[in-house]
């Protein structure tokens, strides 16, 4: 596999009133497994259904109902683990995490505390071309989601919808290797990108299909390195956990606020209390979820309803063989084999659909030129219309056709942009449009000479000036281009203008 070289970014430093501080961040991302049915029942996972219609008796925790695991959800977790270069545990087991909440009818969540299905892996978090942070993954486990409580439909009551109850989640736990708010957002971005490439989670943050808990502590410069050397947490400060964030912007704001809060406490001689906090985007602050503290006594124990989950190495190997090319590999290939800049390669590989589109355009053509057209013209135009690549009115074949016409010298770059707009709005075969509408570049020197002669004859004063100041030749080139409707070959025009003006 190809690897791009990279440097490690500098940690974010926040100046306190007394001295400088650094951040240490670990994340727990809950990613909803892309599946048809729930983790332990045959009810649908479809978002937006009528309340309580995607609920089986198992999900509602009716007495006597037993969970039966969804094979595909297990495969998806394995696939995710492989995509994060993690070890897959052929033997894992389910535990009950006990707590009471109205949207958790069982009174416990089935999770994997002691024996998760996926062990240690890693994610390379891209910060800028040539700058990336390797973040270690501690584990991924499978667990059930809870239901949804709605608090604003009635002043005295909360309304509970169990459609989400029992939907499979992957909890992806990182080590405290993230060193600033931007890195935290970039980590979630990269994780989301990998999950979407793998097809194991749709990454829809708005619907809550990907949400993050962020653990933050502060330390003095130098202490983090001591932690990394020894893996001894005593070099780091006490952490607080901010729960359930589903926006990159809020994640950054919350970390920023929380770091400053902790710095203020420590610099005033106080101590940070380990606790769970919530971020309030309206007030821009975090606050303690005191109610969670006592409930933190989860009394985990192995779920007696479920035997250990044993999977075969051959099955894991089959899944490994079906993995797609992942973002890092794709990006490296675009850079090393197609000659793209790392920045362009990064833009094109952000979404697999974009990368696929680009590869179809670049097939048999100049990679850089294809990248320019896809990124600057197509993406720019789609963005203007708020469209996705999948709704692009211009197919890769059509865009490739435009590029071919430029490469053959049939049209100039400027005409190509007009042609692109025509293909975008009206459709059609680019070569035929050029033919039918007389957009072909004029390379016939006779015609260009005639146009140049005409301009020179019409502008004697400019001719005199140009003889003194040769830079004015550009003005003549412009006039000729205008006169020929932009169809003249600019290089040919330039040569002829120079010759005729005797420069």
């Amino acid at each position: 596999m190809l690897d791009l070289t990279y440097e490690t970014p500098k940690p974010k430093v926040i100046a306190g009133a007394k001295h400088d501080w650094e951040l240490v961040i670990g994340m727990e991302v809950h990613a909803q497994v892309a599946s048809n049915a729930k983790l332990f029942s045959g009810a649908s996972t479809r978002f937006g259904a009528e309340p309580n219609s995607n609920v089986a008796f198992v999900d509602a925790a009716m007495p006597g109902m037993l969970p039966v695991i969804n094979d595909f959800c297990v495969a998806q977790a394995v696939r995710t683990g492989l995509g994060l270069k993690a070890e897959i545990n052929l033997w894992s087991a389910f535990d009950r995490k006990n707590y009471f909440y109205p949207d958790l009818p069982q009174g416990y969540q089935i999770s994997q505390l002691y024996h998760p299905i996926v062990g240690e892996g890693e994610i390379l978090v891209d910060m800028a071309p040539g700058v990336a942070r390797k973040v270690r993954i501690e584990r991924i486990h499978l667990e059930q989601d809870a239901g949804k409580s709605i608090h604003d439909m009635d002043p005295a009551m909360s309304f509970v919808d169990l459609n989400r109850t029992g939907v499979a989640l992957m909890e992806i736990v990182s080590r405290p290797d993230i060193r600033g708010p931007e890195e935290a957002a970039a980590y979630v971005t990269k994780l989301r990108q990998i999950l979407r490439y793998l097809g194991t989670c749709d990454g829809n943050m708005q619907n809550g299909n990907l949400r993050a808990d962020v653990n933050i502590s502060i330390c003095r410069p130098g202490d983090y390195e001591k932690y990394q050397e020894t893996q001894d947490f005593s070099h780091l400060g006490t952490r607080c956990e901010i729960k359930n964030m589903n926006s990159m912007r809020f994640i950054q704001q919350a970390i920023e606020y929380e770091a400053r809060r902790q710095i203020a406490i420590v610099e005033a001689g106080g101590e940070v209390v380990q606790e769970t906090r919530l971020y309030d985007p309206e007030k821009g602050e975090t606050r303690s979820m005191r109610s969670k503290e006592e409930a933190h006594d989860y009394r985990y124990f192995p779920d007696p309803d479920l035997l250990p989950l044993e999977i075969e190495q051959a099955w894991v190997d089959d899944i490994a063989a079906s993995l797609p090319e992942l973002p890092d590999e794709k990006k490296a290939r675009f850079v090393t084999e197609m000659g793209l800049s790392e920045y362009d390669a990064g833009v094109l590989t952000a979404e697999v659909a974009n990368a696929d589109y680009f590869e179809q355009v670049a097939e048999g053509r100049d990679g850089k030129m294809a990248a320019n057209w896809v990124i600057n013209e197509l993406f720019g135009r789609l963005k203007k219309d708020d469209k996705d690549i999948t709704d692009s009115p211009v197919s890769p074949g059509q865009l490739g056709g435009i590029i071919d016409l430029i490469a053959k010298g049939d049209i100039s770059g400027k005409i190509a942009k007009d042609l692109f707009e025509i293909v975008y709005t009206e459709g059609g075969d680019p070569a035929r449009i050029v033919e039918d509408r007389g957009m072909k570049q004029v390379t016939d020197t006779g015609a260009i000479e005639a146009a140049v002669d005409q301009i020179i004859a019409d502008n004697p004063a400019q001719v005199e000036k140009a003889k003194v100041n040769p830079k004015l030749a550009g003005w003549f080139v412009g006039q000729v281009m205008k006169a020929t409707g932009g169809k003249a070959n600019p290089k040919a025009v330039n040569d002829i203008v120079q010759a005729k003006l005797g420069l």
Binding site: A56, F57, F100, M153, F159, V160, E294
Partner: protein, 95 residues
Amino acid sequence: MSIDLETAAKVAKLARIKVEDDALPALADEFNTILGFIEQLNEVDVDGVEPMTSVTPQRLKRREDVVTDGHMPEKILSNAPDAREGFFAVPKVME
């Protein structure tokens, strides 16, 4: 390990079981009897013995990823003390 009244009260609270104060000593005693038994079991050397997860040699059953259930909100809600507009209605819980 010995369970005092405070721990007994906490366990009851975590399990959402109401225990009157005068019933706590008896509850703590029961816990201690159970824990005593567990401690006795702990004396057995189980080093290298795999925990038994099933009495019959069977593996975890799995289902296919097919929607086979649901679409019965009225049945799901039929035991609810209060349900409105398709939702379970519960006393307000706010974080």
